[in-house]
Symmetry: C2
Subunit: 395 residues, 2 copies
């Protein structure tokens, strides 16, 4: 039977269930604070995961305060044995600051969030991250195309993914957003997961897929620009989503690419990063500026060939809306990927300076996004080098 | 002399200055808590108003905690004698709730904000509103095309407009977001203001111009849709921005227009509202649903001819992101006009349900926006009736 209902008050957590791989830790007890509806009240499956929402009732899993992370799957779900979480950069930074950099406090904070919410969604930033793992059980009605044993990355946010951690994060040093982790996670009927490529480490693939919405949307917007050879400014160009977006912009036909970085160390990273075609660097112009300083950053971009036809905001600090808007030409587009973006600051900021710019909320999902990002890593040695260096520094 | 520097420590507020119209209340004392830089440190004028930012230094006026609202103008500025503030709906609602509906507390809250910040920006919502008044003095370098005596509405947000209130809001009953008010406000070099039309009341014009970005952007997006006769869903269609956006969508060639409202009373308002062409109603289908209930609202829109190619969010309550995304067809567009929109809820919500939708931050500025909205009011009796009824109910 696919969906093991159990028999009484809180059956799901205590039962051992048949699993496809043998790694299961399902005999372990689960955090007591997570209670679920009783077996007799089980809701019908929803492709959006509504049946896993415990409170408040009726909202989508991303908006829920608390999810039901029971290991037994509904007919269209997939259960994944988790190997690694990759915390969203904004979330990790907030947690790091809140814990004063103390690894034990940081670890306790993550465990507390997952235990109380049934998912890893930072209550302050609202953001999550993603994970890698091995498919353990696939419901008969799942349409994700996965099989038990597949090594995958989830491409929906941790902020809506039911999750249980069973190892107290014993193998995490608390110094990086990449979190070795044992436990299980659930994918819904309408979800997104990608098989990990065989030609790169899981760590690299996860790190790439985590931000793969950014290069995909950048590629689409730059490709659709009405200006020939549009000027593209990437704010935070030496970061993960920034460097991939720069490469995607080039692939989509960008003219001048201006990379904005906060200091010389990142400028040097960019300078050392070649593009695949051996003609360009990853970016054409490098500008050192504080993205939170609208006047400073827009002046710097202007003097480097701007204003930009497309500005891509990839830095995870608050207060970058005004600078991005001022750096963009009338009729241009700003893509906000930073989870630290303030909606009202963007809306009112543009109005306040009479800026006729199209402002896009960086949707993390564009069809084919994971493939595009992985292909960029394969073909762009400069970007791959920057990702690899980041991973090496943390290991 | 255009810019009266004054002579000593806090000269600007106490001096009487020559003004173009005689309405000035400049001899009055100003709130003591607002201090300014001394005359010897006066910064150069900036078209963006940077010279009016007191703290934190270097940010744009919208992002500033505190502005310098001194009445003396820099050479490219315009001073306006204020007649009426129109508080942003989200801000008014928040203030109303925080004051428990007590008009005196509400009034005190608004006065406190303006006195301490030098602008009417709600610290909780971040939003402001707009104002009407009479141009009092125009700097010799102003390019806004205004003359003393012009009756205007400012089309930049109050959240970045230097403002002083001098009448303690004595004529405001605290029951409506339209606030009769005496005092002065400042427009910067790069700002937006529209002369009030002669064929309608200032109250109506202000009410229309307050939301004129919404119909303008809706018109642009619907007009550019790749689908012929696109289905347009307006969430909050009986409201100000919603009803104007519905009319703008029709003008731009929308096929079916679905109006979503929260209850029967608003449905009736919509049902009674004809379109100018006598062929349609203002909307074609009326759906009663809670916009915060993603499954409920998307199911209702689907059964009324959806999913939508363009969904316009015009309700000022939090939590509408998921419903708007789920109501929109793959490849479609969501325009978020509500200041209660959460950036992360939108970004992660779309990703979480694998929705390939373009999500736009509703920019309040589109060239020609005020004219388009005023023209819609002139030609669409249904919309004008709804606006007028709203005004009559509050007077």
């Amino acid at each position: 039977m696919q969906f093991a209902c159990g028999s009484a008050k809180r059956p799901a957590y205590r039962r051992s269930v048949p699993v496809a791989t043998a790694a299961g830790a399902f005999g372990q007890s689960f955090p007591e604070r997570i209670t679920t509806v009783s077996a007799t009240q089980l809701p019908a499956a929803s492709p959006l995961g509504l049946h896993r929402v415990l409170e408040p009732a009726g909202v989508l899993p991303q908006a829920a305060w608390r999810l039901d992370p029971r290991p037994e799957i509904w007919p269209d779900e997939v259960r994944v044995r988790v190997q690694r979480l990759n915390l969203d950069a904004a979330s990790f930074r907030q947690l790091l600051e809140a814990s004063g950099g103390d690894p034990d406090k940081l670890k306790a904070a993550v465990l507390e969030i997952v235990a109380s919410r049934g998912k890893m969604q930072n209550p302050v930033t609202g953001s999550g991250g993603m994970l890698t793992g091995t498919v353990e059980e696939v419901g008969p009605q799942s349409s994700l195309g996965l099989e038990p044993g597949d090594k995958i990355a989830t491409l929906v946010s941790l902020s809506l993914t039911p999750l249980v951690i069973t190892d107290e994060l014993a193998n995490w040093d608390g110094k990086s957003e990449q979190v070795p982790c044992a436990g299980h996670a659930i994918l819904f009927g309408r979800s997104i997961a990608a098989k990990l490529p065989a030609d790169m480490s899981a760590e690299l693939a996860l790190s790439v897929m985590d931000v793969c919405g950014a290069p995909a949307l950048t590629h689409r917007v730059v490709g659709a620009a009405t200006t020939a050879s549009p000027v593209v400014a990437i704010i935070g160009a030496a970061g993960k989503s920034g460097s991939l977006s720069a490469a995607a912009a080039r692939k989509a036909g960008a003219g001048t690419i201006i990379g904005v970085v906060p200091h010389e160390a990142e400028a040097e990273m960019l300078r050392d990063a070649p593009a695949a075609d051996d003609l360009h660097g990853l970016v054409d112009e490098i500008v050192i500026a504080d993205a939170r300083d609208p006047v400073g950053v827009s002046s710097a971009i202007a003097s480097a060939g701007g204003p930009a036809d497309v500005t891509v905001v990839c830095v995870d600090v608050p207060g970058c809306e005004g600078g991005a808007i001022l750096s963009t030409a009338q009729g241009g587009t700003v893509i906000f990927f930073s989870m630290a973006t303030s909606f009202t600051a963007a809306a009112l900021g543009a109005e306040g300076v009479a800026a006729d710019v199209t402002m896009l909320v960086g949707n993390g999902y564009v069809p084919g996004h994971a493939q595009l990002a992985i292909d960029l890593i394969r073909t762009e040695p400069g970007v791959r080098g920057m990702f690899q260096r980041r991973i090496d520094e943390h290991s």
